[in-house]
């Protein structure tokens, strides 16, 4: 007999989400503030490397300038969506 699917039971799903979040919090609490700060730097570098690899794979690019221009274009689109109505450009 297969295990029940938590997606069919809102209470079970909430319990699962809380357990995942609890693990993240307990891991963070086990680190120093400084270690978390440094981890954010490493995470950021890693995410941009994955984005660049994604661009290389998806568009078949190999020139670093082209790759990073495309990463920037994608980041600009994200920023426009996230910051919509939050910033006003005034010359």
């Amino acid at each position: 007999m297969s295990a029940p699917n938590p997606h069919d039971d809102p209470a079970a799903l909430k319990e699962l989400q809380d357990a995942i979040y609890r693990d993240k919090v307990l891991r963070a609490r086990a680190m120093s503030n400084e270690a978390r700060f440094d981890e954010a730097l490493e995470l950021t570098n890693g995410v941009f490397e994955r984005m660049a690899e994604g661009v290389m794979w998806q568009l078949g690019l190999s020139e670093p300038v082209e790759i990073w221009n495309e990463v920037r274009r994608r980041m600009d689109r994200l920023a426009r969506a996230r910051d919509h109505q939050f910033y006003s450009a005034v010359s």
């Binding site: 809380d18 963070a28 680190m31 954010a40 995470l43 941009f48 920037r72 996230r82 910033y87």
Partner: protein, 187 residues
């Protein structure tokens, strides 16, 4: 260009130009909450000396190209300068000018120094309480997630809740604060 190189460039420029600064955004959130990645390196810069921001931007110019158009935060009308590094990266630099808003002034005055091994130097961050107040004021979904994470990791009992509640009452964000505290899962 790695993010620590970019952050170090800005810190060094502020130090050389003798402009007081504070890192904010994801790195402050990660210091007090759960580490997360970011797309930009955010700094608040003092306007003393009055041309300090211009001098920092000028000093960064060989490495970072700044948009000539200044942007305004539509919530508080703070001025924001956005820079794109000339090196291989998708990161941006955002420099926010310190302005006359009472909370922004107090947050900056209360900032604290921390040393990062990855940066290989010290930098300035807001206190946990001020970060929470600021994020509640902005109130985007990611800001509220950040507040929840700081409360979850630090524990409300370790924070100056009277200070937080006082500013939230001033900003009209007490309902946001209470909802986050109520919704915190048992840890």
């Amino acid at each position: 260009m790695k993010v620590e190189e970019l952050a170090t460039l800005v810190i060094a420029a502020c130090e050389v130009e003798q402009v007081e600064y504070m890192m904010t955004g994801a790195f402050a959130v990660s210091y007090y909450g759960i580490a997360r990645s970011t797309k930009d390196v955010d700094f608040v810069l003092s306007l003393s000396p009055s041309d300090g921001v211009v001098r920092v931007i000028r000093r960064l110019e060989p490495e970072v190209s700044f948009d000539t158009q200044v942007q305004f935060d539509t919530l508080t009308w703070g001025r924001r300068h956005v820079g794109v590094p000339r090196g291989a990266t998708g990161l941006k630099v955002e420099l926010f000018e310190l302005f006359s808003d009472p909370f922004v002034q107090e947050q900056f005055a209360r900032r604290k120094s921390m040393r990062s091994g990855q940066l290989g130097r010290s930098t300035w961050l807001p206190t946990a309480e001020d970060l929470i107040v600021q994020k509640l004021r902005w109130g985007r979904s990611k800001d509220l997630d950040d507040v929840r994470d700081v409360f979850a990791v630090q524990g409300p009992e370790t924070l100056d809740m009277a200070y937080i509640e006082n500013w939230c009452r001033t900003h009209g964000t007490i309902a946001r604060l209470n909802k986050i505290l109520t919704d915190l899962p048992p840890l």
